[in-house]
Point group: C2
DNA sequence: CAGTGGTCTAGACCACAGT
DNA sequence: CTGTGGTCTAGACCACTGG
């Protein structure tokens, strides 16, 4: 929760120590030793509690692991639940090149369904963006998204990005939460034409409601070619 | 990581403070104030850093929230990612009654694929359990599961449970991690017969590899009627 | 203004690892 | 044995909040 900021002001000591240690161990192999607390006390001329505050943050973060009597070490990366990604990022993760062909991109007034999903009032401005998505040149999915216009003024004019979540992130609006539903269906005529399959071919239908904090930034429906796409989810017990 | 234990020994002070505060706020409404740090200092006769250590743990845990200049308050429950559930639990969550018809339940020797998935050696003993699952009487899915026999000796003899994860939990083996894959397909003849749909009807295919710690306890493939079942997933940014 | 949490100091003793 | 992290003390000053 505590953050950097204050571009000119002096940095807090525990932040200095924390970032120093982070830079030391970034890229280090799991199991590598981090500096001992007392060594950092001498190097920075601070109290040990200050060093511990710095190290605590990195331990909670999962970067370091303490072993009493031995020292502090780089933790092996904890199993990570599925990252919240958009199509572009997901394809990149799979080593594929994502391309995008915009079928529709305009400002609209929210209808009742979209307004409810975006937690807006009917008639509020939304951005409607429909794209055909390819991976390594092969049609993969049709994505039909609505964005809350109030949160991203000038989005349509700013040149449409490739990676939606990356673009949102640059505005501090990268989704932190998503509610997805997934089911199976068969392609209708229009979908089949775009996806270059036979009508009636199996498809995966994916709906998403993406939030940043309490604000809904995106709702979308996507239809994926089942012969080209399998969804992967990794779930942990906690949150 | 620090834990209670030492049934006879004296409890650590920060643990005493932590558990005192936890008991105070358990059941309290979000936004209710917790005792101030200095109040706890006086009540327990400890240093403020000790109190802060206790409170820090509860803040990291998500139970408390600090507001500088105001105080410490009961946090509203953070959004929870999808719980790791089995069919029985998932149907219960939807307010439906899960029933189960065993199609096959026996001890087998692991074939190459199952052995790899369960992190065993080919020929190791596994439990093969195939069931037709109904919700409110309607066929919903066919689940074909393999369990690591070594981890659950006598499972077949102990009377098959309704909720697999509940039964595993009673042996301390409730999965804490799952790797799922989901895609769309059409039902083959046998599946269609069991699910009481036409062959070629859309279905959702769901594979799971469920672990507790580092041990793989279950691998399964399920096929769901797409007209009766939609998968829901809630994802957070972190883990 | 008084009260809160945020940061920080300069020590201390303990249990435990490894040599 | 030395060095490590785990715990704890008794203060201090700060920025911020609310009345």
């Amino acid at each position: 929760m505590e953050e950097v900021l204050v571009s000119e002001g002096r940095a807090l000591k525990h932040v200095q120590v924390r970032e120093y240690v982070r830079s030391l161990v970034s890229g280090a192999a799991p199991g590598s030793p981090a500096p001992s607390e007392r060594e950092l006390v001498h190097r920075f001329g601070v109290a040990r509690m200050t060093v511990r505050q710095a190290m605590d943050a990195l331990v909670v973060e999962g970067l370091l692991e303490r072993i009493p009597g031995r020292g502090t070490f780089v933790a092996r990366p904890r199993r990570a639940a599925s990252r919240l990604t958009c199509f572009t990022e997901e394809m990149a993760r799979r080593g594929m090149l994502a391309e995008s062909q915009t079928l529709l991109a305009r400002r609209e007034q929210a209808g009742p369904g979209v307004a409810r999903a975006l937690a807006l009032t009917e008639g509020d401005a939304v951005i409607h963006w429909k794209r055909l998505r390819r991976a390594d040149g092969v049609p993969m999915c049709i994505e039909d998204a609505y964005l809350n216009e109030v949160l991203i003024p000038g989005f349509l004019q700013s040149g449409m990005p490739t990676s939606l979540y990356d673009a949102l992130g640059q505005r501090g609006l990268r989704p932190t939460w998503a509610e997805d539903s997934i089911n199976a269906d068969v392609a209708n005529e229009e979908e089949a034409r775009h996806l270059e399959v036979e009508a009636g071919a199996p498809v995966l239908r994916h709906s998403r409601r993406a939030l940043v904090g309490e604000k809904v930034v995106e709702v979308s429906r996507s239809v994926y070619r089942a012969d080209r796409f399998t969804l992967w989810v990794q779930l942990g017990q906690e949150g």
